[in-house]
Symmetry: D2
Subunit: 463 residues, 4 copies
């Protein structure tokens, strides 16, 4: 069950007569990565056209505004912004007029030294419109007197530290830039046009390519600046120093769509493997393996195959849930979970079951799920998590609760088991997780499970 909120999706396309519309589709396919605002900037006759708004992609864009978004290149962004006021000011892509012309930027990630840079820039007279870290980069670009945009990007990159998968659009090029650690995914594809040529496509996940009929070519490399212009395609290193590869393992655990290829591996397969590893590490004698849908399904399939315990959809998810829901004033037990998940009494009655979920954050949802399953008549409830205990906040682009709210940061597994009311509880080990996500699993950031942060945190509060 989602205890973390998604982050952001980026998209870029160059050389497509329907660039704006493709950006719309690319964002639609990546809706799961950000649902609070959406925006597109296109390049038309060396001018930028843009539209952004609060809401889902399908709410922000309509035939009218897509009609206006003419042009043969575009970038787009879905955002999971945090709170309150001025949402629209923080919605991306952000835009600015530089000496060299207009620039737009869409960002997935988090710059850990943004506050320091921001203070420095305000001290120099910069005016900030919003509160997000992406604006810092725009100001660094606008203050650079160099007229070579790629050089300006490299200069900026030398000052910023953290996670970033950027797409930029100027009046003559599309740029994709990924931090040297490779925290967040960023991929390159090609879309065949009716005239036989191919458009360049950049996206966070491959599911965006699938929808627009583009083929996956490769990842943008960690530390790579890739750009496309009318003169061709180019690639450069952000900097000489090579950083330790630190791909976000949580993309495989929960964030990415199961039908995406992330960091070169199928997310669905990675999740099934987590189920296999979990079954090997923490077997249990039970009648049924039951996923918490939808995120727990692939791991539950893996666990079932490995353990040979039959798989059953013992909990049904209601997909008609909108984003607003009015609570009953009178209490209904476990209501908040029930509105999404309904346990099937005829399956669960008298059975000993293994429940598979992707991760456990505060424990309160798991507690309610287990309570519902027991009410439905299950004899024994064994809870299995397809990831290790969450013990640290993420500072690389994932909106996690504070450390103090992560139950595993201050309770033992036994205590958690008691708290959620399971007959037994087991997490996948870090080693098991790393085995599941690929060959030897090196090159992943596991900070949220281990507390080992690959970068300096510049004083950000780890609690």
């Amino acid at each position: 069950m989602p205890g973390f909120r998604d982050e952001c999706a980026v998209f870029g396309i160059w050389g497509d007569p329907e660039a704006g519309r493709m950006a719309y589709l690319g964002l639609y396919a990546q809706q799961h990565r950000g649902q609070e605002s959406s925006g597109i900037v296109t390049l038309h006759d060396e001018q930028h056209l843009h539209h952004k708004g609060i809401g889902l992609v399908g709410e922000v864009f309509d035939e009218d505004n897509l009609q206006r978004l003419q042009g043969t290149a575009a970038i787009g962004h879905n955002r999971y912004s945090t709170t309150g006021e001025n949402l629209i000011t923080n919605a991306q892509p952000l835009t600015a007029i530089l000496k060299s012309g207009p620039v737009a930027v869409a960002h997935n990630g988090n710059i850990v030294n943004a506050s320091l840079l921001r203070e420095e820039l305000i001290g120099q007279g910069a005016i900030f419109q919003g509160t997000n870290d992406t604006e810092v980069v725009l100001h660094m670009l606008s203050r650079n007197s160099n007229r070579d945009f790629i050089q300006c990007l490299q200069d900026a990159a030398s000052r910023i530290e953290g996670a970033y998968s950027f797409t930029f659009l100027t009046n003559d090029c599309l740029v994709a830039m990924r931090d040297p650690y490779g925290f967040r995914p960023l991929i390159l594809g090609r879309r065949k046009l009716e005239n036989g040529k191919e458009a360049v496509v950049i996206a966070s996940e491959t599911c965006a390519l699938d929808l627009i009929g583009a083929r996956y070519e490769r990842e943008i490399e960690p530390g790579e600046i890739f750009w496309a212009t009318n003169q061709g395609e180019f690639s450069k290193r952000v900097e000489k120093n090579v950083k330790k590869l630190s791909q976000c393992v949580f993309e495989h655990v929960y964030f990415s769509r199961p039908d995406s290829i992330v960091f070169g591996k199928s997310v669905y397969e990675a999740r099934k493997s987590m189920g296999h590893e979990l079954a090997k590490e923490s077997p249990v004698a039970a009648d049924l393996v039951i996923p918490v849908p939808d995120s727990g399904v692939p791991a539950a399939l893996g666990y079932s195959i490995e353990s040979k315990i039959p798989f059953e959809l013992g909990i049904i998810r209601n997909h008609y849930i909108g984003r607003t829901f009015i609570q009953p004033s009178q209490s209904i037990r476990n209501f908040a979970v029930k509105i999404k998940l309904n346990p099937q009494t005829h399956i669960l009655k008298g059975k000993s079951v293994v429940i598979i979920d992707d991760s456990l954050v505060r424990g309160t949802t798991s507690q309610k799920i287990i309570r519902m399953i027991r009410q439905a008549g299950a004899k024994e409830v064994h809870f299995r998590l397809a990831s290790p205990p969450s013990v640290g906040s993420c500072f690389y682009g994932v909106d996690t609760p504070k450390r103090s709210q992560l139950i595993a940061s201050h309770k033992s597994i036994d205590e958690i088991c008691k708290f959620i009311g399971a007959d037994s509880l087991a997490y996948l080990s870090v080693e098991g997780l790393l085995r599941a996500v690929g060959e030897d699993g090196r090159g992943f950031c596991t900070a949220c499970f281990t507390g080992n942060y690959p970068t300096d945190l510049y004083g950000l509060d780890r609690e």
Copy 2:
């Protein structure tokens, strides 16, 4: 894949201090049965309060209007209305002032002799506001000079023929009435209140009971009039004649939520059994069993267990699809299907697969799905349907295409197989379906698969 549109959901509650809010939740849980309009009428101090609107339950109701829907009894309705003008006029519950006081009605089903009755009533000077068959019943009630509401209902029932599961609300009682054939489901539950008493709950499906923490008691019997007042609960037969039990088998095939108990049987179990029967009737040597999600999943699980061929989620469904979607102007192959379903290349590549879907209507969607699966690299594609060929329209409350649009009404199975591009195609037999839905399967209407309509059709066009 849904080729039929859903019909309607009804709900009723008596003796609950939060009746309006419970109706809201009951409709929310039954959203899948009707997504175009929604409405609630409550009974407060012998007055009716009501609110209805176009859209999903979550769009029609907000804190303000729920606040206004005070009272201890309520009925509600979700509608899948057809088209165009005057949607709000057809939205239910419908209301009228009778001599005996206000009455509101919510209806699931279709009255086959409605046109005849309507003409007769217009001839007598009745003014119709909308075009739906439910209004006919209201006029029959209003013209009846008898002051006993239940007697009026019986009089009306003696004239109407077809499928009806009604909830009525007057100023002193809640009524549930189901046609003698038992076409559409209608169930009775009890919700325990904080004061220890129990509220009476009526709904189309048990999933509505689950959400509000009510327990399932029994079906409203075919031909039963059940009513609750401050004096107690009562039950009567609609008429003396007993009709042939004709429960809609399509509720089990596609309409109902898998976590509901319908006609006394779990929908999920029924669908799994269809998969078992299908595997027995139409086995095939293949590497993988793959469902068309979500509706094909339970049958695919059954097929996989019976055939011992591994189950895989080889097609991933995107649940973030809103109700509006803007098409690209340039053609993208199979776009309409792709926006919902994404095949997983790494799973399908080089494999011989059995695809399981619930039903096949026009064949165009199946054609696109198979094409996508082949593009993803599948070696062989065997298509299996967990229901028999659809050969007839429904006149009992399901909005089916005309007969001429049902591919199985004019093409042989071989021709359909060729049309959709499968390596082999098989449907579940009517007998297999009836075995799957319960004991001996007697008592079901299978008109859409057999053309055997349990009632006179009063000249309705079967083509």
Copy 3:
């Protein structure tokens, strides 16, 4: 100042290729007569098309829905409905399917025996959707077995009593029908088409003709049924009995637009004459004549000319006021009036002024106006009303306060003068008013000023 709310506007047109759009304009011009809902029904290929909604004409209609309102005949309606729930159900035109085909009706007026007729009809099984008296007429028509629509209208007219100016649209004719008393205005005009032919136009006021470039021909006579079909134009008497002509004098005092011709006389001229009469009856030595804008302006001009006291716009009206206004929480003196009216200190300071208003209902607004004028420095404030004391409610289509709320029904003129804080107060006499509205002023209903109701009130509460 408006203390009464407007009533309704009707419109009809026959034989115009842009009938829907002309109806829209005709309603736009008559917006002052009803601002809560608006609707149009057109006749296209013997079918009715309709659109209605809550709000101003400009809010209810847009290019899309006007585009759909094809046809060569139309009727329309603006309503000032009363309160709360189900506004849309009461919005007109109302429609019904009769044996003879579709009929739509728009009504201005009030049927005084509607409750009795309604009860009778409900007793016969009629189902009422809304609460307005117009629906009664529809039910009377639908119950009449005669196939001649005009005959049905005459039959209905023989049963209904009160004020009515109707337009009806069937599938082959446009009908205008006015009650034998002639309470409410209803006029006939002609609009020249590009092909040289003339369309027939019906409206409440001539300002509707002016906007669409039609010429005024005559009033629909009291007690006349006028209808236009493809065969020509026809006229008949509603009934043989001639009733006492009872034109609503308040149309001239306040309701109608000053640029309309009502009951054969210019409203502007009538109001100016009221000012002349008022000056003759109640002269006063003062420095300035100042209208309460906008409704008091013509009478003030007349008063100024007659009295030779200079006219000044000493109070300026703010026309940018929308329909919603948020109050300050802290008290600002006379705020509710100030938001609309601003006294001009430099004009009023040290002056003795005569304030002219059209009428006085509760007295509270006048009190605030006088207080503001004194604060602005006026030395003496003489209040003059261009109509007699309001002592009775209207039952003929005007939404007046109950009698108990009319200050003149229970206070003497001296007491009112004291209450509003004027130095002197005078009303126009009934005789003066009748002189102002035309020749000898016979033929007017003055019930709201005299309590002499021209019809039986069927037990309606006069208090």
Copy 4:
């Protein structure tokens, strides 16, 4: 008739417990100065709270967002922005975070050297969000390393040239600043609180003071910086040099509300005087003086008194016109004017009339008005304008058409008379206008009538 569009309104308040709500009312009263967007920033616990939106004041603000705008100081703005994209980005107040804290600004006027300054600032790396000149000032403030806000303002003022009436809000003061020419109005008032203290109020026009019950104290002097803090009130000169007083004469001709005191004189009186002057300069023998309502009314009153020709409301204005209006597809003569203005046939028939309007821009509206008046039967139509011929664009904050569209810039008075179809045409002389607006009329900018611009135009296109 308005041929020019309004400009902007500013408002400011300090020391009022309902500052946000008072700003709302102050903007409401000044709605005529800007109708496209509206915004308020309040100061609450040293933090800024803000809300702005597209639309009228009554549309942008509701109880919810006013509730949130807590605080004891506020500034607000109404804007008449020009076109198209990114309206919300240009909506004011604009805000920024300076080294010294947050600052918000609302501006009425136009900075003539804004483009030059903007280019310079972009060259220094400034990022502009919108296209309005006000943002230039914010950037100048943010780049100033001085921590004294007033000093920063003086520094900025030394670089900017043109028309500006500013209100600023920081975290500890409210500032009003007016350019040394005094182009646009800016006034100071006091609002008495319930606790006996007085809040400081700043506004463009006195009508804003009237609505909130504040008293007018004085103008903010040309070249004055006035500020209020918790320590008291302060005033300074923008710069030592004194500029030639250049108050916008068009505020009196058309912009300001007639009930405002502008530049120390009543607008209503100024307009009446224009009518007197016009009658003296250009008398004509006629039967009636008729204003084009509403803006021509005061001048027509003056003309009537001076000429002793009777005043009549021969043209009635319809105030129910919304902002959108759907055109008939078929042509209706003079439709665009008719929707607002309706000539009264019974008044005009056979009469020789003098029509008084405030100004004439393109001449097309006047042409239609005259045509309508002739159709209504007028014998002779003499057109008189209460201002001189418009020959130049405004660069000081008024959105005028380009010079080439001003009919008087390329046609003689005789030619214009012919074009509009009048029997005679006369304009008020510049001298007459200056006499009307005050004593000797010195100290006014008459550039739009004379082409004499008080400042360098920095290359702005005068055509």
